[in-house]
Symmetry: C2
Subunit: 424 residues, 2 copies
Amino acid sequence: MTLKAEIISVGTELLLGTTINSDAADVALLLSEYGINVYWQTVVGDNPGRVIEAVQRAKSRADIIITTGGLGPTCDDLTKNAIAEAFGLSLVLNEEEERWLRNLWRERHYTSLDITPNNLQQVMLPEGSTALRNDWGTAPGCAFRAEGVLVIMLPGPPKEIRPMLEHRVRPILASLSDGIIASHTIHFFGIGESEMEYQLRDYMNSLTNPTLAPYAKQAECLVRVTASAHTREEAETMMAPVIERVRGMFGDLAYGMDTTGLPEFTTKLMLEKGVTLATAESCTGGELAKAVTDIPGASAVLKGGVVVYTNEAKTRLLGVPARLIEEKGAVSYEVAVELAHRVRELMGSDYGVGVTGLAGPDGDGVHEVGTVFISLADSEGVWVREKHLSRRGRENVRLYACQNAFDMLRRRIAGLDLEGKVFP
Amino acid sequence: MTLKAEIISVGTELLLGTTINSDAADVALLLSEYGINVYWQTVVGDNPGRVIEAVQRAKSRADIIITTGGLGPTCDDLTKNAIAEAFGLSLVLNEEEERWLRNLWRERHYTSLDITPNNLQQVMLPEGSTALRNDWGTAPGCAFRAEGVLVIMLPGPPKEIRPMLEHRVRPILASLSDGIIASHTIHFFGIGESEMEYQLRDYMNSLTNPTLAPYAKQAECLVRVTASAHTREEAETMMAPVIERVRGMFGDLAYGMDTTGLPEFTTKLMLEKGVTLATAESCTGGELAKAVTDIPGASAVLKGGVVVYTNEAKTRLLGVPARLIEEKGAVSYEVAVELAHRVRELMGSDYGVGVTGLAGPDGDGVHEVGTVFISLADSEGVWVREKHLSRRGRENVRLYACQNAFDMLRRRIAGLDLEGKVFP
């Protein structure tokens, strides 16, 4: 029997529109991985009556209710009280969570001051529930079964609910399912979602199990292949030919599988290969180096970076000739070459990457806003990509510039085709 | 009388979690501007029965129903049929919209081929409704009044609904409302949401109009003050004493009003004051420079930055003595001083900021993961903050380190108290 779940999000900030409900999407994605159907999502404010009404309705329709938000220490955090009331349960202090929270409080506040009473509200859970430890915040979640319904309550902040879903909820859902749902994601750079969907459409529609679904994500694309089977092995066997066919259709536009994205993929590739990088960033202003150092262990990869947002910095930090900048412009092919080449020499790294461009919104009177040159230097030469990313907005111009840098790196490291070689 | 509205979003992609429901937030934001209360948001899939059920429930509770999604030409776009059925209305062809759509079709397809029948579905609207021309897509929205309820139907794609809200819905809402809702946000750094809420609770509960609400956001906090009044001026007069009192309660922990956050606030402050900055980042790896350069015009502020993630880079790029690093450790008070001081000298900027720490997850065998030293140098001295951000996770350690750097800068620039002066 296919299970039915409902998602109830609690928070006045959602009704006011000051927060977008990304939690509901995160919960729904996980549920769909386990083949659990969602027919309704409801958002209510921090109002006990309406939370109870939403829960009453949901429990008459669903096997699983997942709530997000309203577990914190402030007085508008009332989800637990309302849910407990809807099921006729009392709230009881969970002693283990209390010990954990008191410890956390001491560590964070370096104080002998006792924890404030409102903070202890967080460890009051409906009787009979299992606490879901929140190692990414302070308010634990919980899960209980009552009236034939499984209720799972999760905190609202995205940085908390995401790991909670992965590490606390996934095992629960996995245990409910008699088969398994397995999926892989194939990741692409250099093709848009709609183009990919267009090329895949016939094949996609011909499949029932496994299924294929394309998604756009942070200046790249992915295709999720999902199989429903009795065992993991069976699912893998079903997915293998589909994955092979999709990868075959798009050649080296597909860069990897099951990764969080091109920055992580490329950084880990550099770690594996034991190669080093130095960055010289103008318009990306540190974003590229940040993306590399988002990955633990990046100190073995990134020998160093410079943020040379101004012409003066390009000359002072890297010795790019002021005359070259004056003649060719800071946003130029020639300056891009110098950035990659010189930062590599300066830091003694295997690869040097440079980025110079016009992120906008203001132009320089010469180039179109969105013009970016991305360069890569190694011991065998320098390559430059010129991109015109107008109409995408400042933030996206910077993001795409970084993505192109990672794409050039992963292509060069893997010995794939890389256009735009400048010299020697 | 305060009007009540409900938002019903239609789309299976929302229930699957592959699309985040930003539409509901956009609609809610506009409604709250006109003081229209939203108590419920519902998401249903492309299923006529459930759309009808959601509408039946909403019309018993609300004065206004706004739907998003399901207006397009594909067979799963069924919102208009379901809504018409829920109100016992027929769909009729809107001739003006038909002419417009046929024109658009010809312009887009450069063809003499006639429009396909599924495309004409889009201009079938409930009888008696006013078409809302969609200049940003192909499916018009519509608005009608029935059974005492105002129904507004809008397309789903964010690029269409946003301008539709601004140019089609705003005038309708403005005509309904006899007052306005205005709000300000007061921004804080250096205090947690729960601590702030604890201190504010009594005052907050004593207020009805204006109201106060605290929020946590990206390693900082804010309090939103909201007033309902007849005019903007009246609302401002009502909010002024509340803002003054809240700011008074928290002194210089409140750094600003109506900003997107401390990075933007501080960068704009530097722009205004015409002062310059140079950054030397170890554990933040470019994140600080990126945050500054997120702001357009930052080239006038950031003279340059270095990412000195490795010891070698600290020595090569800044000349931090290798011996000092060896004796004191890269994560030390002393190295932090050198970073800020030396990058300022190197770049000739007014301020130099350094960050060195252990973001984790791996330690160095000496410091606790989460130990960070943030330093600020100007012509009058160097200041260092030591922070212990363990258990927050790598991403948050880096974020808090950047936030502390911005806080030190804004305090120094504003001539506020800044602890941790090292020399002279």
